[in-house]
Point group: C2
Chain length 235, copies 2
């Protein structure tokens, strides 16, 4: 009997936004793994900390700041091997994933490596666009709206084209791209159709007017929701 | 003291995919409301049935089959008024929403009406694209992919254009549009990049080859995930 690797969506930040299923698996798993920076705390582990009880084996998958790009073989290859040892010994492994494991998550790189030899089960989680919409009191998409998720690191011209052909958009991964994205929205006369939020559902959640955001301090976990045609749910 | 209206995302179907927060509010709320067909069971209520204990007031928001289109004032105006009476009497009301309340959900029509006079809080839930991706073992989007959600009722030419300019897509609300959508994917040579699933995470979940789907029997709760450029997470 080999163990199962679980990819657990732990939700966007509020520890109470984990599912009953992920909570159950989390409490039962003898081995816990999670992404972490080169030094310091793992956000995913911090989200579930209130739910952890008893001793278990913990494996931090540390991503060097200098990592050239995802997927980094030296990190995920090594992690897959390390977790594979526990799985082969019959132990279940729970991998914590911020938000949902398969929505722009790094879990997919482990998944691709481990699934060839072991059973892998993905437990979906509450994802950041839904959490941001709830916090903003602004529906993501209605009726037959076309909703597009746009990663901010993409080139401005490409983002403009895609933004012009959807009804609603979630611009993710803002961080150091915030200033360029804000200028783009201003050029497109979409400032009044756009709402900014950072760290949705976390204790330090902030909702700001786009003009009020300090572009040097916008975190990776921030998002702009755009409703190009106004409020669909009031049309 | 007036009560709070909670929009509770109850997740995609598996009762265990409700969040701890929605579960807590559900068990405490003296009034429960949910969308339902003109006659028969409510899917949202069926999802949470294992979690209900004790007596409470239940309000079924019944949508006539003949309803011209959403939002139907005669249905949501009436429901808002009825729930408003409970809120004004100081009772919290929990409105059950399949998946997430603000991802193509009908809750937004209640929200728009009730939020003017009462406190409304939205609890985000696990949404169907994430549930489908987990069940298929296929990530929704990776790295800087552009992900687009396309409602199947839209015109074929529009869908083709939007599909041609994203990396990954979730085609939702298939139902009676399945046959047309499958032909479109075939025309675009995307059949091998597309995966079909119906009723993800429910007991009668089915994953089928597109060719094997009976177009007369594809339910509303089905989805096709498309990865135009192949498997991003293995690139």
């Amino acid at each position: 009997m080999t163990g199962t690797l679980f990819g657990l969506g732990v939700g966007p930040g509020d520890p109470e936004l984990i599912t009953l299923k992920a909570h159950r698996i989390l409490q039962a798993a003898p081995v816990l793994a999670y992404p972490a920076p080169e030094t310091g705390d793992s956000l995913a582990r911090r989200i579930v900390a209130p739910h952890l009880n008893g001793n278990r084996i913990e494996v931090a998958i540390r991503m060097p700041l200098s990592a050239p790009q995802f997927p980094d073989e030296s990190v995920y290859g090594k992690a897959a091997k390390s977790l594979g040892t526990h799985l082969s010994a019959g132990k279940d492994v729970a991998v914590l994933c911020e938000g949902d494991p398969f929505f722009y998550g790094s879990f997919m790189y482990l998944f691709a490596r481990v699934a060839e030899q072991h059973t892998v089960e993905v437990v979906p989680g509450v994802s950041s666009p839904m959490a941001c919409a709830a916090a903003l009191g602004a529906p993501l998409a209605a009726q037959n709206d076309i909703l597009t998720v746009l990663p901010a690191p993409l080139e401005t011209e490409l983002l403009k084209e895609r933004l012009a052909t959807c009804d609603a958009a979630a611009i993710i991964k803002l961080g150091r791209h915030f200033s360029r994205i804000r200028s783009m929205l201003s050029d497109m006369k979409l400032m009044e159709h756009s709402r900014y939020i950072e760290r949705a559902t976390m204790e330090n959640e902030r909702i700001l007017q786009l003009d009020a955001v300090n572009p040097d301090a916008s975190p990776y976990f921030s998002m702009i929701l755009v409703h190009r045609r106004g409020k669909a749910w009031q049309r």
